[in-house]
Amino acid sequence: MKHFVSRLALASALSVAGFAAHAANTDITVAMQLEPPHLDPTSAAAGAIDSVLYSNVFEGLTRFMGDGSVVAGLAKSWDISDDGLVYTFILHDNVLFHDGSTMDAEDVQFSLNRARADDSTNAQKALFAGITDVSALDAATVVVTLDAPNGNFLFNLAWGDAIIVAPESIDGIKQAPIGTGAFKFANWVQGDKIELTRNDAYWGTPAVLENVTFKFISDPTAAFASVMAEDVDAFVGFPAPENLPQFEADPRFQVLVGSTEGETILSTNNKMPPFDNVKVREALAHAIDRQAIVDGAMFGYGTPIGTHFAPHNPAYVDLTGSSAYDPELAKKLLAEAGFADGFETTLHLPPPSYARRGGEIIAAQLAQVGIKVQITNVEWAQWLETVFRGKDFGLTIVSHTEPMDIGIYANPEYYFQYDNPAFQELMTNLNATTDPEARTALMGDAQRMISSDFVNGYLFQLAQLSVAKAGVQGLWTNAPTQATDLTAVSWAD
């Protein structure tokens, strides 16, 4: 749910000021849609913060790579006890924060304890819930003890919410972040841009780029203009898929089409009649033509999904067949549920085009089986208030962008209010399982369970669409987490 919150704090409209083209090949200007509300990844759900800072400025013990794999970060190696409860991390030597102080075991201890504290404002506290103790054996060794084996623990530590910060710089982190990454924070012009410079004292492979500017351009039309005019070198998360064919046809640009962790779903209020009836939800699923939505709303970019799981994940099970487009079956199911004449409901649509355009298409498709949908376009703030917190909605469309977030279905309080003890038990088992094969099997069961319960309408996996000048190389094509990792980006000669 990361990107919702970021839009909240982002009300400023941005001007596309033209500025001088970069002569040197060690500078880059990367545009994105949303500006971070502040610069502390450990105390907000705003994905825009990670988009700027993850891996560039801040690092964790482990980290995501562009292909979604989790590799060692600040931890050089680790050892897991046989019972799966004790993780001993060996840290890299000579890691310095940007202010010159040393990063050592005490900083790790501080960071993890801060994230899991009772008064922590970390947006993903669940990642740290199983930790019972963090202790520093010596300057380079940290021992983390869990209350139960957690097969996801190294994955959890790779999240932007688990980056390592120093106790000395924590007070100013929201305006002047000090991390260990290959880039240092330099300047933030609010409403316009954030600038980073290369960290020459970096402990690992140094970055090729010297100066990085992140520009924030929220309007899709302005985004198109800024790329066309070459005001920006790359636009990560380009908001207007309809414009991509033009960039593809233009030799000045390259278009990167990848996958995200964003399962785009027709969220259904499982507690609100008539959606508390599984037959009605099943009818809903069969009334939706996914391909038409991908073509109409996303201009063909996006992979249809049949459950809440990313198709590029090896554990993904293709269940699109069990909710195939079949309006006649949908009508029959509605009749069986006692709604032969259909019913009326509401559809709340947040601002992104996947929702606004997708919503119009879904409304037309549902009308075909007799479900009358009242569309309400809402801003993110309103969406969070009425839908997410207030749970006052029938249907809504939203993309859940966190990696591996099927666990939200185990929380009966979550806004779509799916309450199935069997699923909750399944998730408990999954969390306690470390054997990869057993985990894959459990994840398959989980996908099948929410699919056969038709909890939500599963639409498509949001595509990661980026445009860059032809000479830019090393950008992430996929978005395994919200990040714009520039540490390996360079210009071709």
């Binding site: 039309t221 414009n243 109409g296 119009e360 298409i361 409304a363 037309a364 009308a367 569309i375 376009n377």
Partner: protein
């Protein structure tokens, strides 16, 4: 009849006929999506082409005319229904505290642009065609109140009003029986102009998402939807744009023409 009036009548008639026609016939169902047939340029099947969902733009323009005209019509009705009585009342009690109260309250509303009023109303009650009507209607109240008051005041000084008073008619009766018929010409002209402003305001509100909600077609929302597509399918923006221009220009020309036509002095001068 002068030229402005004729051109204005013809252009307005196109819009109004399109709106009326849409109740009985459109070439296609205006909400029917056909995504494989999206973004067609104007052709023999789809006279104005298709939009990003493959809907027929000609049909959407026709139904959109209905939305625009209905919103503007009701909004002008609200403005006249409340503005005219207030204006007559203020004129009848010229200089009194009632006059001051009405006119200062009008100034207050007048100071807010209609878009700001609309944003305020939709923030409180939610977006939708009805709230757009209310917002535009509220904006129209002071316009009519001022025009009526200004025109009514000199009439109150006339001898036939004095005669009516002597005959024992009270102020309310005089306002309705003697003042109103004498300012009617002016009101017809003003209503025509407010009507065109209402269509513009509806388009503006729909453009920012505060007007009629999908799937109800609206010219303003068609423009907004076309925004990112303008470089690949310019007709998506041009067609609703022209529809707005033709209607608004038609109504303005008609307003100008009516003013000349209904004003005895200019009518004599022209004929």
């Amino acid at each position: 009849m002068n030229r402005n009036l004729i051109i204005g009548l013809i252009l307005s008639a196109i819009a109004i006929l399109a709106a009326l026609m849409s109740f009985i016939w459109t070439p296609f169902d205006h909400v029917a999506m056909n995504i494989p047939a999206k973004l067609q340029t104007p052709n023999l099947t789809h006279w104005f082409g298709t939009d990003h969902f493959g809907r027929d733009i000609f049909s959407m323009i026709m139904v959109g005319a209905r939305t625009s005209i209905a919103v503007a019509f009701v909004a002008v009705g609200i403005g006249m229904g409340l503005g005219i009585p207030l204006g007559l009342w203020a004129a009848a009690r010229k200089g009194s505290y009632i006059d001051e109260l009405i006119m200062r309250a009008n100034d207050l509303i007048f100071a807010f642009p209609s878009l700001v009023i609309a944003i305020l109303i939709t923030a409180i009650f939610g977006a939708g065609a009805v709230n757009a009507i209310i917002a535009i209607g509220i904006f129209n109240i002071p316009v009519f109140a001022r025009v009526v008051r200004g025109a009514a005041m000199p009439i109150w000084e006339r001898e036939f009003i004095l005669a009516a008073r002597v005959a024992g008619k009270n102020a309310a009766r005089i306002s309705v029986e003697h003042i109103l018929p004498n300012v009617l010409n002016l009101l017809i002209v003003q209503a025509t102009i407010q009507f065109s402003l209402g269509i513009l305001a509806e388009a503006a509100l729909s453009y920012v998402g505060l007007g009629a909600q999908p799937p109800t077609p609206s010219w303003g929302r068609m423009l907004a939807d076309a925004q990112t597509l303008v470089s690949i399918a310019p007709h998506l923006a041009l067609i609703p744009g022209f529809a707005i221009i033709i209607t608004v220009m038609g109504l303005n020309l008609m307003g100008d023409g009516l003013r000349d036509y209904l004003n005895p002095r200019t009518r004599v001068a022209r004929t």
